[in-house]
């Protein structure tokens, strides 16, 4: 058991690691843990890495990991280094920003063979916004293809960091680890904050623990957090009594109190993660701080889709599963929704596409639910002729065209870093997706950064896959939300046997409607099995049919004999045939297989 000794505030350093995906962030974190030997090597593998693996496997990079490292520096003093491992995906930018706000410094890890990538830049800008001390680290120097001088130059030119004494590391080989720890001690500022001031603790993550209730990961900015303190959440105003405070070793270990500069956790018999919103400030209810810490935002869903159980009987299970997931992820939004085609389900909102995929996958894998997902949608803003403004995330609610005055859709600014050979391919892709060119800059002789303004709706359909395939995997991509822009939008309906299938409708840019409608009906023609009658498939905008295909009627379904011994067998075969169709959705009299609803997701 590790002896827990309280170190002075001057001996605390709080930092995070920022990097582009695959540049070696996790490996470096592992090495720092091993080197400081805060816990035994065996435990590191079993606890820290395992839980990380699980997260990585599930793809839940939503969660910030924190760990406390005890480090004996060269100057002979003992330091407490709190490493906060942040998620790296654009969907979770807000969560990342709260993690950064809990730190005074950041290690910027750049792959010696790859150089600066889109996420490197995005993360650096974020860190600079929070006035973090940035320590550049060039990783993977052991690889034969590493080019340290080139990467140094990139960091200096693109980011403007002095690379004279840049840290040269191979996390894989364990080279330069001690130097990293020394740099953290020497360069990262001592956390500020007064113990005697009213309590201000920043929540940078929270999750549900079945035994302790909600656990909030916090950074103490001012004041002291003790067991028994009545704490108040400044955004929600709710008050709880603290049952436990502790730190990450990396397993949770309770401590007596948390003081300024400390990174730790607090449990207070809180039942719902909604009450411990990331970014909120915890204060002492009896002596509240005057103001909350800056930067708190209500989480806003960006991408929406309908989730429906394939088997209507699983509706309650889906509700339970969503409820449970929401316990750990306040960023999920859901509300009941009904579709004529799909029955009862939920309209769900997510931080982005990755977030959506993670949640879908968790529902299917962890809760064994068989789901139909409708086409993802952004939030469209519609100004009606009567002046009313409506926000729409479900195509079904798209107003009657006659009542629409103007339509708007959200835009993003995309930064794409790519070898110059692929500039043409990227420009073509962005053009196809209604992008507006903003800027192009050479990073070095070979690589270029391209900025485009694009409708968010255009990147939620396989943009990333296209980007990767058209650049043989070389492009890196990052984006930020910008604003709404006016856009000529229409609702495209799909009619089967002359009936609109609501779950297949989507909102689309008018000039793309014909093309998308054409692709859609062709796809559906191949997916919808022949039925007892002819099934016309139509794509329509308003009353105007823009594309049509027909599924011809089935002509024969078995003409076998049936005698005494066959009656039971025959009936059982028919029962099986009927059971098989339960996996299909019945709209009017047309049986539609699940894949049909997915068709809209893959348009190319």
């Amino acid at each position: 058991m590790t002896q827990i000794k309280k170190v002075k505030q001057t001996h605390i350093r709080n930092f995070c690691i920022i990097a582009h995906i695959d540049h070696g962030k996790s490996t470096l974190a592992d090495r720092l843990l091993e080197y400081t030997g805060s816990i035994s090597q065996r435990d590191i593998k079993e606890q820290f890495l395992d839980s990380m693996d699980l997260e990585r496997e599930r793809g839940i990079t939503i969660k910030a990991q924190a760990v406390r490292l005890n480090y004996q520096a060269d100057n002979g003093e003992a330091y407490e280094l709190n490493l906060i491992d942040t998620p790296g995906h654009v969907d979770f930018t807000y969560e990342v920003s709260r993690s950064l706000a809990a730190c005074e410094g950041a290690l910027l890890v750049v792959d010696a063979t790859q150089g600066v990538e889109a996420q490197t830049l995005a993360n650096v800008y974020l860190a600079l916004e929070h006035d973090l001390e940035i320590i550049p680290v060039i990783n993977k120097i052991d690889l034969p293809s590493s080019d340290v001088p080139m990467v140094k130059k990139e960091i200096e030119d693109l980011i403007g960091l002095d690379c004279e004494d840049v840290l040269l590391v191979s996390a894989k080989e364990g080279i330069g680890i001690k130097e990293v720890l020394e740099a953290v001690v020497e360069k990262i500022p001592v956390p500020q904050g007064e113990e005697k001031d009213p309590l201000q603790a920043l929540i940078f993550d929270s999750y549900f623990d079945p035994y302790k209730g909600v656990i909030a990961n916090v950074r103490i900015m001012n004041g002291t957090l003790n067991v028994g303190t009545n704490i108040k959440m400044m955004a929600s105003g709710k008050v709880f009594e603290v049952t436990e405070v502790g730190a990450f070793y990396p397993a949770l270990k309770s401590v007596k109190s948390l003081t300024p500069g400390d990174v730790g956790y607090v449990a207070a018999a809180i039942k719902n993660v909604k009450d411990t919103r990331v970014g909120d400030t915890i204060t002492d209810a009896s002596r509240p701080a005057e103001a909350s810490l800056p930067g708190y935002k209500e989480v806003q869903s960006v991408v929406y889709c309908g989730l429906y159980p394939v088997d209507g009987g699983d509706y309650e299970d889906l509700r339970d599963a969503l409820e449970k997931l929401k316990l750990n992820d306040a960023a999920i939004f859901y509300e009941p929704e009904t579709s004529v085609a799909l029955g009862f389900g939920f309209r769900c909102g997510f931080l982005g596409l990755l977030h959506m995929e993670i949640i879908q996958e968790r529902l299917e894998r962890e809760y064994e639910l068989n789901l139909i997902t409708t086409a993802p949608s952004v939030i469209y803003r519609i100004v009606k002729t009567n002046g009313e403004i409506v926000n729409i995330s479900n195509p079904t609610n798209f107003p009657n065209p006659d009542s629409i005055s103007k339509t708007f859709e959200p835009y993003i600014k995309a930064n794409i870093i790519v070898p110059q050979d692929f500039v043409g391919a990227i420009m073509e892709l962005c053009q196809e997706r209604r992008g507006t060119f903003i800027n192009m800059e050479y990073l070095d002789e070979k690589r270029v950064t391209l900025s485009y303004e694009l409708p968010l709706a255009e990147i939620i359909y396989d943009f990333y896959d296209q980007l990767k395939s058209r650049t043989r995997g070389y492009a890196s991509f990052d984006y930020e939300m910008t604003d709404y822009k006016e856009s000529d939008l229409v609702k495209l309906d799909i009619l089967l046997n002359a009936e609109v299938v609501d779950a297949l409708s989507f909102i689309v840019f008018r000039d793309s409607a014909y093309n998308r409608g054409r692709i859609m009906v062709e796809k559906l023609k191949n997916i919808i099995p022949r039925q007892m009658f002819e099934v016309p498939i139509q794509a329509a905008v308003g009353n105007k049919v823009i594309a049509r295909e027909t599924v011809r009627a089935l002509r024969k379904n078995v003409l076998a004999k049936c005698y005494g011994g066959d009656i039971t067998r025959k009936r059982k075969l028919l029962e099986k045939q009927k059971e098989g169709k339960k996996r299909m959705k019945q709209v009017g009299s047309v049986e539609i297989p699940q894949e049909a609803f997915m068709a809209v997701l893959k348009m190319d």
């Binding site: 002509r555 078995v558 076998a560 005698y563 009656i567 039971t568 009936r571 028919l574």
Partner: protein, 378 residues
């Protein structure tokens, strides 16, 4: 007054198993096993049952019943007559394969009261017959048929199949025309169904054979319906055509979902709301009888919902269909209350019509039987 019943006797022997066959039949040469089997069946027929209904039909099916000698078959039929009140005008059918009959045996059967023959002909092309594993040729079919007529059989059926490997509509038309030229009283025309576990299934999986697609098969059958109608055959059940007055009485018992008693390995019976099946295995069945145990493998209680489903499915197989009145008399329920919506939908889709109080399949409905029947599951 009890309803009259049908008797089915299963003879699970074949000279050779066909490539498509998934029926309960075995390639048995041993006279000893056949002898034991015949004794076992006789024993089962003699066993006192708890019914005393008249017997309207007897059907000797297989397998190939004519794998047994005329004397053995005669013995079994005689036991039926001793134990049951077989009506004088009873229809007594035997299935036989061309090449397994001779004048002597056909004569014995005729004398014993067999009045209907059903030949498994399947096709009128030697190449197709060979491919699907039939033991006979077209020439043998013609000889056997002629022999049957000479012995005095006046009610003969020919079984035919469509959807054979590599078969096209012209082949099938030739087969139908040849069959009609023989002027049988009855024709059964089945779609070949590829059953798992059969060589045919394996060949298809291996890509060694190509079966005509559903659309081609539909064309074949549609043509047959027209041609046979013109040729004077009444299409009285999905797969069955007969000259007026020669509709198979025994099979209509099944299609009316009425009572029948089955004897022999794997034979099914349906009586008094229960359907049961004898043990399928030859040795299992024989041993049971030799040890004086019940040969029944399993019982299935047919509840009212199942009976309604089955009644609809089976009756609709017959071209005259089912009347609202019949349904009401049988179940004391208005058919509208149970199947009103289904009937309306099927009418809308042109699969079902109602004429003179009878609900029946349209020609398109016949071809889509399984789609229609599925709707009647409760």
């Amino acid at each position: 007054m009890n309803e009259s019943l049908g008797i089915y006797i299963h003879i699970p022997f074949c000279v050779r198993k066909c490539a498509y066959c998934a029926f309960n039949s075995y390639e048995v040469q041993s006279k000893e096993i056949k002898k034991r089997y015949v004794s076992a069946v006789k024993q089962e027929i003699e066993k006192p049952g708890d019914f005393s209904n008249d017997i309207a039909t007897i059907f000797l099916g297989g397998g190939t019943p004519t794998c047994l000698s005329g004397e053995s078959l005669k013995g079994m039929l005689q036991i039926c007559h001793t134990n049951f009140n077989v009506l004088d005008q009873a229809e007594i059918t035997i299935e036989c394969n061309p090449g397994t009959v001779d004048r002597h045996n056909l004569g014995i059967l005729r004398e014993t009261g067999v009045n209907r023959l059903s030949f498994g002909v399947q096709d009128f092309h030697d190449s197709f017959l060979k491919k699907i594993g039939r033991i006979h040729t077209v020439k043998i079919v013609q000889e056997s048929y002629k022999m049957a007529r000479e012995v005095g059989y006046q009610n003969v059926n020919l079984d035919l199949m469509f959807g054979l490997p590599e078969q096209n509509i012209h082949h099938f038309q030739e087969t139908i025309k040849q069959a009609v030229s023989l002027e049988p009283e009855h024709l059964s025309v089945y779609g070949l169904k590829v059953e798992p576990g059969t060589p045919l299934h394996q060949w298809r999986e291996q890509g060694k054979i190509t079966l005509p697609c559903d659309d081609e098969q539909a064309e074949m059958f549609e043509w047959a319906m027209d041609y046979l109608k013109v040729s004077g055959y009444n299409h009285y059940e999905i797969s069955n055509f007969a000259k007026p007055g020669y509709e198979c009485v025994h099979n209509q018992i099944y299609w009316r979902n009425e009572g029948y008693i089955g004897f022999g390995a794997g034979a099914w019976s349906f009586l008094g709301g229960t359907r049961w099946e004898n043990k399928e295995g030859l040795e299992d069945y024989i041993k049971c009888m030799e040890n004086e145990q019940s040969p029944v493998e399993k019982h299935e209680h047919i509840d009212i919902n199942t009976e309604m489903t089955e009644t609809m499915i089976m009756h609709l197989r017959m071209r005259h269909g089912i009347s609202r009145e019949y349904f009401y008399n049988r179940f004391a329920l208005n058919i509208e209350r149970v199947y009103g919506d289904v009937i309306n939908d099927l009418k809308t889709w042109g699969l079902l019509v109602e004429e003179e109080g009878l609900l029946h399949l349209t020609s398109r409905g016949v071809l889509l039987g399984n789609c229609v029947f599925e709707k009647f599951l409760l």
